[in-house]
Amino acid sequence: MILLVIFIPIIAGMLVSLIPFQKRSHMEIFLESAVVLNSFLVGYLLLHRPDHIITLANFTGNLSIGFKVDGMSIVFAGLISVLWPFATLYAFEYMTKEKHERIFFTFYTMTYGVTLGISLAANLLTMYFFYELLTLVTVPLVMHTLTREAILASRKYLYYSLGGAAFAFIGLIFIIIYGSTTDFVLGGVLDLERIGERTNVLLLIYVIAFMGFGVKAAVCPFNSWLPDAGVAPTPVTALLHAVAVVKSGAFAIIRLTYYSFGTEFLRGTWAQTVVMLVTMFTIVYGCSRAVKETHLKRRLAYSTISNLSYVLFGVTIMTPLGMVGALTHLTFHAVMKISSFFCAGAIMHQTDRHYVHELDGMGYKMPCVFGVFTVSALALMGVPGLAGFVSKWNLAAAAVESGSRIAYGGIGCLLISALLTAIYMLSIVVRAFFPGKDFNMAALEGINDPDWKMLIPLFVFTILILVMGLYSAPAVKFFNDVAAGIY
């Protein structure tokens, strides 16, 4: 069952490039149905979870490729499987303007399977395996346009990710050696007798591994690939570089911290301090870069960077509450950011405008898109009643509850970045709706909202944002259970 879920998209993707479809619409139907079917399978799987580990292959000795569905998997896989069909739908419309979309959809769909693989992985090795695979599958998407900058960007992406994986790998080794098992067990698998005197080494390794996975999650020194990767078509930027890929990084770090090294071992050590400071810095850094950035997608990318570090900040608090905060933001940010990215994509698709200063007065021409954009902007700022507020609240609550002074500082960072978020998001909104009295609307003739394939996802996500903001209680309760290890 699990294998099915993972392999359907991969196979479907390959088929797309193999089957000679007569009409584009056939391919669309085929793909969409495959993706939707898969999402339903995932849903079924998550509801009826097999409680044992399904082993695919055996590497050396105790290392195996195995899958299992636990709380984290439910969260991440669920998120992915909800977002993907809509994103695909959106992509159909968007890609009409791009060349050789066959290849694009091939890899786009394969990524679905690989990401699910990450989320369902039962042990560190499996996750690492799919993690590497993810990098390789997504590279073609980044270099899709085949412009010079696209190729440079994809190279950068590749080097960064593989390099990061190389360092994460070291962490993997240590877990293999010093852990009782490599399977994910909430609370960590380190076996303290074996460690003995070498605690500090292990902490160092944790930091290294954190940074390694952090590359995908765009932690500060290693974040410059993300804005560059924005040259990819917007569905990619939206779904992969706002959700799938980067969130896999965050997901991996959660696994590493809570399920492999274990918070008992890490809490209160210098390692925790280091990583927490790094995330805090990234939060502020990302936002400030976003404020300076004038290219719309790059701006959003930078905002992604800082928001990812929200998640990581929650992780580094290393308490159950912290994990709750992290999970909340992981899910909620996904929705908010994907909708804002889709807006950006819609704008580019309709008008070919890429820069913020070109958006004056567009609010009147594309009311739906900019309405949605405004909502997502407010949500990202953390206006109460929208998704962002809840997740930030959980993060801050965790930070306060942890009672460490650095965490308090972290709250400060959160709020500063919230302000910066307001600056870089609302300045766009204000431009769009209040162009200034000496602005002639005639310049915007012939611009209008995109058609339903693009709008449906937008509206769905907006509704999601609202629902998450107003009735987040069940979700948060579920996260609490996950953090408590009930699932």
Binding site: F129, E132, S154, L162, F169, I170, F174
Partner: protein, 497 residues
């Protein structure tokens, strides 16, 4: 004594005779002879492997009538047998892959010479693997060198001859040191058979006399073999030799010849000096340090390289660095990792060479990256194979490279002081590998609108394609079900000592 026990000696002799016979034949027939030999030897070593596996220990085969300590001996354990088996397979594949090139690059009337050399090379490799006698080892090292040199310069152009000259010189330096070491060892212990030397050496070490001479001997032999296997500071000859000789020579040289020397070194460590003695000499740290440096510098110069074959050659420097790092860790695990890496690197590197040649062929024979653009579309199989090889080198799971990286890292973690440097360098070198290999992969998968070069399909390169597929399968096999092999290596190493 079982019949099987004759096989190692027989296979060596077969190869020698094959060589001698082929020198009288025409190119084509020589090729058939050679292929036949290879298959037979493969089969024989497979039998030996099974035999040793089930018997569980090594057997000694006395050459001529003189028993130890005077006579000359062959000793075959499971590791030796496996190595022989593996080497044969790799050689077979490399030859098949490079056959087309060979016809193009070597004059018709010289082809038979090529196969003569190949046969001799195989003979010497087998001898290096099997022999139990140091001086025999030396002799075959020389034969090996000569044959390899011939392989390099069989393709007649200035580069290759010059490369051959450099290669000769370096390896003569190496073998000179090795010989001196052997002689000194001989008059320290009075023996040439490895097992006897080991007992003597252990006694000397225990009694504590002749400390310095022993140390010097170890140093001489290690350095000599290090030079011959192109460890970092002594790799000057390598890029030309690998970069310009005909492709199957390059593949064989990089994946077999140098590995043969390394295997000999491992044998010396285990069966001549004795692991503890070797471990206590500080030589091991030197090897470790040079290994690390090799990993870095090899990759760096590979990044700077603009010629795909030279790039691959430089990456071999890095990979040999890996192996020496493993040896230098001075643990059983490290040694096992090195041996495994010998295998995986042999498989991967020859694959890369063969694939690269496929790519350059569809790019007007040019090896500049700029011309390779889009090569993977013109020659799909080569493209795929090259990608697989690169991924394996970078150490992506599912491929052999990942497993050896895994083993290295695990070995490193168990070692106290050398852990951090090893791990850090491992990480860095992975990044560097990623940089130059992935750069190439992206390059070859970047389509060009109007390509001037024709593209080949699977039909008109069946053999080549099959070879590539075999290589890929081999790679993935090593990567996925490596457990039995690793067990075998560990058992073999224990049987060694």
């Amino acid at each position: 004594m079982d019949f099987v026990q004759n096989f190692p000696a027989v296979s060596i002799l077969l190869c020698l005779f094959g060589g001698i016979i082929s020198s009288g034949l025409r190119g084509k027939t020589a090729r058939y002879v050679n292929r036949g030999l290879l298959l037979v030897v493969t089969f024989l070593s497979l039998c030996t492997l099974c035999y040793t596996l089930e018997s569980g220990e090594a057997f000694v085969y006395v050459m001529g009538k003189f028993p130890a300590p005077w006579g000359n001996e062959i000793r075959a354990g499971m590791l030796e047998a496996f190595m022989a088996f593996f080497f044969c397979i790799i050689m077979l594949l490399s030859l098949e892959g490079g056959k087309k090139k060979l016809v193009e690059e070597v004059e018709e009337e010289k082809v038979f010479l090529y196969y003569v050399l190949i046969d001799l090379l195989l003979a010497s490799l087998l001898a290096l693997v099997y022999t139990n006698d140091l001086f025999t080892a030396y002799v075959f090292v020389e034969i090996n060198t000569i044959a390899a040199c011939g392989l390099i310069m069989i393709r007649q152009n200035g580069r290759t001859i010059e490369a051959a000259a450099r290669y000769m010189i370096m390896s003569l330096l190496g073998s000179g040191l090795l010989l001196l070491g052997i002689c000194m060892l001989y008059d320290l212990t009075g023996h040439l058979l490895m097992s006897n030397i080991k007992d003597q050496a252990a006694m000397l070490y225990a009694s504590g006399q002749y400390r310095i001479p022993l140390l010097v001997t170890i140093a001489l032999m290690s350095v000599g073999l290090a030079i011959k296997s192109a460890l970092f500071p002594f790799h000057a000859w390598l890029p030309d030799a690998y970069g310009y000789s005909t492709v199957s020579s390059a593949a064989i040289l990089s994946s077999l010849v140098s590995k043969g020397y390394i295997f000999l070194l491992i044998k010396i460590i285990y069966r001549v000096i004795g692991f503890e003695v070797f471990y206590d000499s500080r030589i091991i740290d030197v090897l470790f340090a040079f290994g690390l440096m090799g990993m870095i510098f090899g990759s760096v110069s590979a990044i700077r390289e603009n010629d795909v074959r030279r790039m691959i050659a430089f990456s071999s420097v890095a990979q040999i660095g890996y192996i020496y790092m493993g040896i230098g860790m001075g643990t059983q695990a490290g040694m096992a990792a090195s041996v495994f890496h010998i295998l995986s690197h042999a498989a991967t590197k020859s694959l890369l060479f063969i694939a690269a040649i496929g790519l350059t062929d569809v790019s007007g024979g040019s090896r500049k990256f700029i011309d390779l653009t889009g090569g993977a579309y013109r020659n799909k199989w080569a493209g795929v194979a090259f990608t697989v090889g690169s991924l394996s080198m970078v150490g992506v799971p599912l491929f052999s490279g990942f497993i050896s990286k895994l083993l290295f890292a695990q070995a490193a973690v168990q070692n106290g002081t050398k852990m951090l440097p090893a791990l850090i360098v491992l990480g860095i070198s992975t990044v560097l590998n990623a940089i130059y290999f992935m750069k190439t992969v992206i390059r070859i998968y970047t389509p060009v609108e109007d390509s001037a070069y024709e593209s080949v399909t699977f039909k008109n390169m069946k053999l080549y394609g099959l070879t590539l597929i075999c290589f890929i399968v081999l790679n993935v096999f090593l990567g996925v079900s490596s457990q039995p092999i690793v067990d075998l290596i560990e058992r073999g190493l224990t049987v060694f000592s």
